[in-house]
Every structure is written in structure tokens, then in C-alpha cells.
């Protein structure tokens, strides 16, 4: 429970953090809230040579909006995402889910950018952001930025599109419209634990039926996953198509077995929870 030795630097700006990263090389890690990285370091699953602390860069904590998007600074705490009136109005799925993470202490320290950059397939926010078709702004040396859509961002188990000398600085989320219903269901055996399986669903309602649906899965593979077969089956469908569509949820997934649940049970849960989430997103008949 004691981490291996590491250097520690506090960055006072994104530029400063980038120069520190460049100086330490690829074995350095960024530290934001530290609620995923520090436990891994204590268990020595992670042994970074240096931590560059970007958790004190005030300029990374903001919630703003433009016409179609909400823009969230990567350093914004889960607590602030959960309580932001802008996010509540424009993307209630995101504010709701931020309130499910850990406990109040965790939510006051952990950041949305940290959760995304950590790339843990058992985390809730990456799944929700994948379902929302969010975009991630990466800032590199000299302040150059590139924008990566969520669908291209999660590359593997704890692996993302962020380059060794890049920092995730902003999350852009398209606003949900009045015809959008949403749900996030998180199944765990005990309070405050990681999801055994989680499901995010967004349904565009159309004449009482489903216009289109976006469905994403937590902890059903090495990354958060879109349930594409389910989405295709639901496009333009009526409510009674939900059970058959949900049954396709396990397609393309590769869940693991652990002490909480076996892979077969996870596949079963994905089916059950997708059905429930889509029903909830569609709303009452």
C-alpha cells in the first residue's frame, strides 16, 4: 500500500505541465484527482517515474456552452459536473451519472478529464461520453490542439488516444434535445463499488416510438463499447422491439470473469440492463 518512489511536480498551467512531461519522458503520468491513479500506484500496478500534478490548474475547471455543445474543462470535479445547472439543462444524463461515482469524497476530488484519460472500462463517465458522441480536446506542445471523437478515443484496456506529450484539456458534449430520453443503469453488488455492468442509453423519441437510439456499455470489454447491433435494431422501431434488440447487447463484447461475476452473467446483465435502460430512456407509454 506504499507506492514505489516517484518524482512529484506541480504544474501551474497547461504549458508548464507539457514542458514537465517533455522533461520527464514517457514514464511520467499526469495527476488530477488521483482517485484512480494513486490506488494503482499503491498496489504497484502503476509505477510512474514522475507525477505532474495538474489538479491545481484553475483554468482547467469550467463549464461553458455554445449553440450545440457544452464544453467542460478536463479538471472539473465530478461534484461540479453533477451540480452544474448548464449540464443539468443541456445534458442531464451526464450530471446524473457524475452523481453515481464513488462517494462524496471521491466526487469532490476526482475529475471528468481524469476519468476519461484513465481509460478504465469499468468507469461510468467514459461509457456515457461514448454514448453522447462527445469529443475530447487534446493539447500538445506549443498549445496545438486536436479534437478526437469518443468513438476513436478509447483504444484498449487503460489505453487512449492521448499522446505522451499531450494533455486532455476539454470535453465537448452535444446537448440533448427535447425529444431525447436518457438512462444510465449501474449494477453492482454493493454500494459505491465499480459497475459489474453499466448501460447508457439515449433515445430520440419519434411519434411514441424510437427514432434512433445510442447505447453504450460499461465493463463489457477492454474499453467502453457502443452496442451497435442494438442501435441498428432499435432505429425506427416501436417499443415492442426492445426485448429482441436488447438480446443483441452481448454481441461484440468480451467481458471478463472475476470474483463478482462470470462473463456469462455479465452478458446476461447487459441484455437485461439494455432493455431496462432503453425502456427508461423512451419513457412511459
Amino acid at each position: 500500500m506504499i507506492p514505489a518512489e516517484f518524482n512529484y511536480e506541480v504544474a501551474d498551467s497547461v504549458d508548464h505541465a507539457l514542458s514537465l512531461l517533455a522533461g520527464y519522458g514517457p514514464e511520467a503520468k499526469l495527476l488530477a484527482g488521483g482517485h484512480s491513479l494513486i490506488p494503482m500506484m499503491k498496489l504497484r500496478f502503476a509505477r510512474p517515474s514522475a507525477l505532474v500534478d495538474i489538479g491545481r490548474i484553475a483554468a482547467l475547471s469550467y463549464v461553458e456552452q455554445d449553440d450545440g455543445h457544452i464544453r467542460i474543462g478536463a479538471g472539473t470535479r465530478h461534484h461540479d459536473v453533477h451540480h452544474s445547472p448548464l449540464i443539468e439543462a443541456g445534458c442531464p444524463l451526464l450530471s446524473f451519472t457524475a452523481g453515481l461515482i464513488g462517494d462524496p469524497q471521491v466526487r469532490h476530488k476526482g475529475t471528468i478529464g481524469g476519468s476519461v484519460a484513465h481509460g478504465d472500462p469499468a468507469s461510468d463517465l467514459p461509457t456515457v461520453l461514448l454514448a453522447l458522441d462527445a469529443e475530447f480536446v487534446l493539447t500538445g506542445s506549443g498549445g496545438a490542439t486536436r479534437v478526437v471523437p469518443a468513438s476513436d478515443f478509447f483504444k484498449g484496456f487503460f489505453e487512449t488516444a492521448i499522446g505522451p506529450e499531450e494533455i486532455l484539456t476539454e470535453i465537448r458534449v452535444p446537448k440533448l434535445g427535447a425529444s431525447s430520453g436518457w438512462s444510465y443503469l449501474k449494477f453492482s453488488r454493493r454500494a459505491q463499488d465499480w459497475a459489474i455492468v453499466g448501460v447508457a442509453a439515449i433515445v430520440e423519441r419519434s411519434n411514441g416510438g424510437i427514432g434512433s437510439a445510442r447505447v453504450a456499455l460499461t465493463n463489457m470489454g477492454a474499453t467502453p463499447l457502443r452496442a451497435s447491433s442494438v442501435e441498428q435494431a432499435l432505429a425506427g422501431a416501436e417499443r415492442d422491439a426492445i426485448p429482441a434488440a436488447a438480446a443483441m447487447a452481448p454481441e461484440g463484447t468480451s467481458p471478463t470473469s472475476d470474483t463478482n461475476a462470470g462473463a456469462n452473467y455479465r452478458r446476461h446483465l447487459a441484455d437485461v440492463l439494455v432493455g431496462r435502460a432503453v425502456e427508461e430512456a423512451l419513457g412511459g407509454p
Binding site: 506504499i2 449494477f187 453488488r189 454493493r190 470474483t259 461475476a261 452473467y265
Partner: protein, 695 residues
């Protein structure tokens, strides 16, 4: 002296409550000593083999390190039965996690860092860590814990089964489970010449003091063990554990006090756990459910260091009348840590199997499960035929049925639904032995009017100190405030541990006897003389003179569950326990203890499971993130009550002991309720959601 209103039975607050919540109460790891050094245990990373070398010199060069103790330089210990105490005596590795070195340093952090860096090389051998019912090395131990026969047979089970009109023949299993008291195991040892003083977290200072004297070859009078406050034990502190010997060994080598505290992870290998069990139960009955035969066969594990044979089938020797009764225990010594006492050893897993099987029999006979138990109630102890000192199982069942609302129960499974939740109810019986063990106590009348009771009792969070204060106050006829009960010091004389639900029955007897003697002495003196008076008592002769009776507490457990039809998630909105456990000394702490026991039972039913990693021979979920003990969010309604039971064949107060009966039967009641809700039997614990869905 005037006689005041009695306090025994009253809901008295804990006398040390304020000291505990303000932090004034000191636990074993909290005693400040000058020149205190800290030891950190280095554990084997193989499950079987030999230590080839330890790089002691490199370890000694780490900052702050005072000693690296290994089998190469450790002093020789006296051979004792418990091989787990013979630490660092040879190079053999008997299980993954066994002590292979102790690093001692000036600070805890330095000790831990050096222990972490210490290089140990091994010659590993293939290990065998998995229990099975057909393991080729299964054997019949000489006896089962603590000294019951391994096998028993009354009548002819096969003939009874052959004659039976209805039979049940099923195999049940329970996993390895770890005790996990809140306070870690910790020992601080200090030598003064040949006198050894140890601040220790244990369930009984007498036993630890005896073991330390044995292992170091000391006269008992030179060893003192102090354990004033203890933060739980659940069996894992019932006798000395390796850290106590290590602390004393290191303190002697360094000639300064040494503290060894185990981490949560270390407690998953070094201090005991409940063996996994595989249990085959066969029941034969006539159509009305009357038992013609009961056969309970148990398979379980021990280590290669010390034989511990859990008395799992003992439950079946006590519960139901049958002409043909057989119980058997088979053991295999694996390359695993030594299993030990944990939360009603024997009865807890044994009751899960038999009380589940009884529910299956009730269904097969179409008899209500309560009525089935009433029909099979035993007039004498089924194995051996001794009369009971008291047995009020039927009264517990009927009182429970009335409080729980059992009368309207529809026995058909899988027929009650509230949205996606299936609802079911279940019942199970419980029992636990009501024994007393020899203890001593003294009580002194001080010139200032106070009374001081000294007894080597242990209050492991149960409220024992408070209950003994009530007992002494009543016997002396004085208010509670005039009685000072001092416990947890081996210098007070030998006494029973807080274990086997025997603590209060044993200590209260000695305290009552000493108080009565003191009152007689005071009367004889015509008052308390200026120098005060002391009376001592020893109950050894009284206990030896007891009639040969079957002494047990009994209880009835009821559960209501809700099972999500799609996910298999289980909620337990209601648990009810009704117990016949003799006299209750303190209504408040007793209620807490019984609720705690039932919470253990819920935890056993749904959550607790130590998962063996067969490749490495280690319990892989060895922390409280991976090993879930039921927490507030898991527990909904728990209701506890007890019958007003008077049994004058136990001990002066008629105490049966309540430490363990709360867990007995709870898991079966929940499993039976899950069956009633879903129609799928749950014969393997814990009842995980995936098991609910895949019958």
C-alpha cells in the same frame, strides 16, 4: 449493605463507552513505549517448498533497520502443538503468506520499506490447495474441534434410509471465509530481564500468556499479557497468533520493545479463517416428515502445520430426533494457511446444510417447515441420549411464527411478485452449545467503599465488561458506580477466553462466587476493615461437579427476501431471530450482539467468499475491497427477541451465551427464502446473483 434494585437484565450503557468514543481507550497498538521498534512480517511468496536464502545483509543496510530475523538467526523455541507459533524455526514453507522473515526498524515505515525490498529466494515445490470431496488424501482426524468425536453412529442409517418413504440426498457447500475483525492483530513485547510483558489484541490473555510461557520456556509467573480493549476477534484472536511470538522474539534479540502489527492483507493468511466445507446430507422420513434417518458427512481442509478440524456436523447431533443418526468428518491437509475458529465454528456451516435439507424435506412431504421441525423435536440429545438442561426450540419457532406473520404463508415457490421482484420467506432453526469453563476472579472491598473486580476476561466489543459490572453490583448489593471491573490482564489469574460463547457463562460464575465470598467475609468482620478485604474464587471444582446434561441454546431464524427476476439481485427486507438462551445480563448489548450475529449470517449467505487462486495458492480477494462484509446498505430490518428462559443447570446466573447463536441458521433461512421466492434451491454459498439465475 442494603439490597438495591437489580441491574442484571437492564439495558445498561457500556461502562467504557465514553473512553472508546473519545479515543482514551487504548488498543494493543496504541501503547507508547520508549525505544519502541517496529517489526514487519515478510511472507512467503510460494505455497510449498523451502527458503533457499534471504539477503539479510542488504536488508540491514536499509535505513533504520535494526534486525532481519530469519530461520538462520532466530532463537530456538520450545516445541508446541500449534506449529503456526513456531515461527522462523526452519526453512520449510507450508503455505503462501507464511512468515519467512521479520524486519525490525526504528519506524514502521522503515520496517515496511525494508521488508518490501528484502530478497528471498525459494525452491518451490508443486502445491495442492484445493479441497474436494474425493481428494485422495482425505482422512478421519482423531477428534474435531475442540474435542468432539470425529464420527458418531446411532442405529443403522442405511436401513433407515431404505425404509423411508421420502428422502433428501443433497450436497451443500460453503466457501472459505475470513474473520476480519476491525482491529488488526497487534502485539507489543517488552522484556525486563526474564520478565516478558506483551500488549496484545486477543480474546483471552490467559491463553496467550500460557502459550508464550510454553514457546519461550518461561515460568508462567514471569509472563504478563495485557489486552484491556480489543476491537473484535470473531475467533481469529482466540489463541496466540504468529505476530505475538515474533514481537517477543525480536524484543528479546534487540533488548528493546518491539511492536508487530499485521496489515489487513496479512490477516488473510496468518491468523485463521473458516475452512471451506462440502457437506452431503441425507434425510429419510415417513410421509408425515418424521425422520427415520439423518446422515451428515463433511469434507473440509486443514494446513500441514496444525490440524484444525471444524466440528461442522455437530449441529446434526443436537437438532432432531431420529432412530438412525450418523455424522462424519473427513479432513485433508493442504498447502494452505491453517483454518481456525470463526463465528460459530461448526454450527454456522453445519446449520446451513441441515436446515436447507430440512426445508427440502418439508417440501417433499408437503409439511410446513415449522411443523416439520416441531414433529422432529428431540426429547433428549439425539446423539448420546443425554437429557437437555432446557430446550425451547419449539417455543422459539412458534413465537417467531407469530411475530413474523408465518401463519398465512403460501408454501408454493415462485408465486409472489411485486413488479420485477419475486418475494419469499424462509425459516431455519439454530443452536449453540451452552458451556462453562473453569475461571478465577477476585473482588476486593476498598476502604473508600468501592469494589474492584479482577478477572482475565476479554471485552472484544461484546459489552462483557459492562455485563460483569452488573453481575458484581447485584451480587454485592451496590450501585453500578461503586464497582470497578478490571479485565484483560493475565496477572488476574486464569480465566476462559471470549470464545465458544463461553465467556460470560464462565466469568460471571467466578465473579458471582467471589462476590458471595466477599459478602460473607464482610459479614464475618462486621464491615470492611481499614485495610480492605479480598475474596478469590475458582470455579474448576464447581464445573467438574456439574451433572452430565446436554446444554444448548436454541433459536429460530426467519427471513424475507426479494429477488430480482432478471438480475438475480437479492435484498433482505426482514430478518427475525427468536432465541432461548438463558438469562440475558444486559438487554442492550445482548440485542446488539444478536443483531451482529444475524448480520454475519446475512453476510455469509450473500457475500463472504475467499476465492482461492489455485495457481499461486493465495486467497486473491485479500482485502476489504475484494472481500465484502455486509455493511449498512446491505442490511434492512433485523428484529431480535428472546424468551424468558430460566435454566438452573448451567451456572449461578443461568447464562447460556449469545456470542455465536445469532449466525447459526441465518444463511439457511435466507437460502430457504430465496427458494420460496424463485423455485431454485441454493445449495452453495454465497448466493451470488449469477447463482440465482443459473440453478
Amino acid at each position: 449493605m442494603t439490597t438495591l434494585s437489580r441491574t442484571v437484565g437492564a439495558p445498561v450503557n457500556r461502562v467504557e463507552g465514553k473512553a472508546k468514543v473519545t479515543g482514551e481507550a487504548r488498543y494493543a497498538a496504541e501503547f507508547p513505549l520508549t525505544r519502541l521498534a517496529y517489526g514487519w512480517v515478510v511472507q512467503a511468496t510460494i505455497a510449498r517448498g523451502r527458503v533457499l536464502s534471504v539477503e539479510e545483509e542488504a536488508g540491514m543496510r536499509m535505513p533504520g533497520v535494526l534486525a532481519v530475523i530469519t530461520h538462520g538467526n532466530a532463537p530456538r523455541l520450545q516445541v508446541v502443538d500449534d506449529g503456526e507459533l513456531l515461527v522462523l524455526q526452519d526453512e520449510q514453507v507450508h503455505y503462501r503468506g507464511q512468515t519467512v522473515a521479520l524486519v525490525v526498524a526504528s519506524t514502521l515505515e522503515q520496517a515496511r520499506a525494508a521488508a518490501d525490498a528484502l530478497r528471498v529466494s525459494y525452491a518451490a515445490e508443486p502445491h495442492d490447495v484445493l479441497l474436494s470431496a474425493d481428494h485422495p488424501r482425505l482422512y478421519a482426524p482423531d477428534h474435531v474441534n475442540p474435542n468432539y468425536p470425529t464420527d458418531t453412529l446411532t442405529g443403522d442409517v442405511e436401513a433407515g434410509m431404505a425404509r423411508a418413504e421420502v428422502t433428501v440426498d443433497e450436497t451443500y457447500s460453503t466457501p472459505a471465509e475470513h474473520n476480519n475483525p476491525m482491529e488488526p492483530h497487534s502485539s507489543t513485547a517488552q522484556w525486563d530481564g526474564d520478565r516478558l510483558t506483551v500488549y496484545d489484541s486477543n480474546q483471552g490473555a490467559t491463553r496467550v500468556h500460557q502459550q508464550l510461557a510454553q514457546v519461550f520456556g518461561l515460568d508462567r509467573s514471569t509472563v504478563r499479557v495485557l489486552s484491556e480493549h480489543v476491537g473484535g476477534g470473531f475467533g481469529s484472536k482466540g489463541s496466540a497468533r504468529p505476530q505475538t511470538v515474533l514481537a517477543a522474539m525480536a524484543a528479546r534479540m534487540l533488548d528493546r520493545p518491539v511492536r508487530v502489527t499485521l496489515s489487513r492483507q496479512q490477516q488473510f493468511s496468518m491468523v485463521g479463517y473458516r475452512t471451506p466445507t462440502i457437506q452431503r446430507v441425507r434425510l429419510g422420513a415417513d410421509r408425515s416428515g418424521r425422520l427415520a434417518a439423518l446422515d451428515h458427512e463433511v469434507f473440509e481442509q486443514t494446513s500441514t502445520l496444525y490440524e484444525f478440524a471444524e466440528q461442522t456436523a455437530l449441529f446434526s447431533r443436537v437438532m432432531y430426533a431420529t432412530p438412525n443418526l450418523r455424522t462424519r468428518h473427513r479432513l485433508v491437509a493442504l498447502d494452505v494457511p491453517t483454518p481456525r475458529w470463526m463465528r460459530a465454528p461448526g454450527e454456522a456451516p453445519g446449520s446451513f446444510a441441515l436446515e436447507s435439507a430440512m426445508d427440502e424435506l418439508a417440501e417433499a412431504c408437503a409439511v410446513d417447515p415449522i411443523e416439520l421441525r416441531v414433529r422432529n423435536d428431540a426429547a433428549v440429545e439425539p446423539e448420546g441420549g443425554r437429557p437437555f438442561s432446557s430446550r425451547n426450540l419449539v417455543a422459539c419457532l412458534s413465537e417467531g411464527a407469530s411475530r413474523f406473520g408465518w401463519a398465512d404463508r403460501d408454501p408454493r415457490p415462485a408465486t409472489r411478485r411485486d413488479g420485477r421482484w419475486l418475494i419469499g420467506t424462509g425459516v431455519a432453526a439454530s443452536t449453540y452449545p451452552a458451556r462453562s469453563a473453569p475461571s478465577t476472579a477476585s473482588v476486593s472491598a476498598e476502604a473508600n467503599g468501592a469494589f474492584v473486580v479482577r478477572v482475565t476476561a476479554a471485552d472484544i466489543g461484546t459489552g462483557a465488561r459492562t455485563a460483569l459490572t452488573q453481575v458484581a453490583a447485584d451480587e454485592l448489593g451496590v450501585p453500578l458506580e461503586r464497582v470497578d471491573v478490571r479485565i484483560g490482564d493475565s496477572d488476574y489469574g486464569p480465566a476462559m477466553i471470549a470464545g465458544g460463547s463461553m465467556g460470560m457463562a464462565s466469568w460471571s460464575w467466578a465473579v458471582v462466587k467471589a462476590c458471595r465470598q466477599l459478602r460473607a467475609d464482610i459479614d464475618e468482620h462486621g464491615g470492611v476493615p481499614d485495610g480492605g478485604l479480598v475474596a478469590r474464587a475458582d470455579t474448576a471444582d464447581d464445573i467438574a461437579a456439574q451433572a452430565n446434561l446436554a446444554r444448548h441454546g436454541f433459536g429460530a431464524q426467519f427471513a424475507e427476501v426479494r429477488v430480482d427476476v432478471d438480475t438475480g439481485e437479492i435484498r433482505v427486507p426482514r430478518l427475525l431471530g427468536v432465541f432461548a438462551v438463558g438469562r440475558i445480563i444486559n438487554a442492550k448489548t445482548a440485542r446488539s450482539q444478536l443483531i451482529g450475529g444475524m448480520t454475519w449470517g446475512l453476510s455469509m449467505a450473500l457475500f463472504e467468499e475467499s476465492v482461492m487462486d489455485a495457481e499461486f495458492g493465495d486467497y486473491l480477494n485479500h482485502d476489504l475491497a475484494g472481500y465484502h462484509v455486509a455493511a449498512n446498505a446491505d442490511v434492512q430490518g433485523i428484529d431480535v427477541s428472546w424468551l424468558d428462559e430460566h435454566d438452573d443447570q448451567l451456572n449461578p446466573l443461568g447464562v447460556k451465551g449469545i456470542g455465536e447463536i445469532g449466525i447459526v441458521g441465518t444463511a439457511a433461512a435466507i437460502a430457504n427464502a430465496v427458494y420460496h421466492a424463485t423455485g431454485h434451491r441454493q445449495r452453495h454459498l454465497p448466493i451470488r446473483p449469477d447463482r440465482v439465475l443459473s440453478p
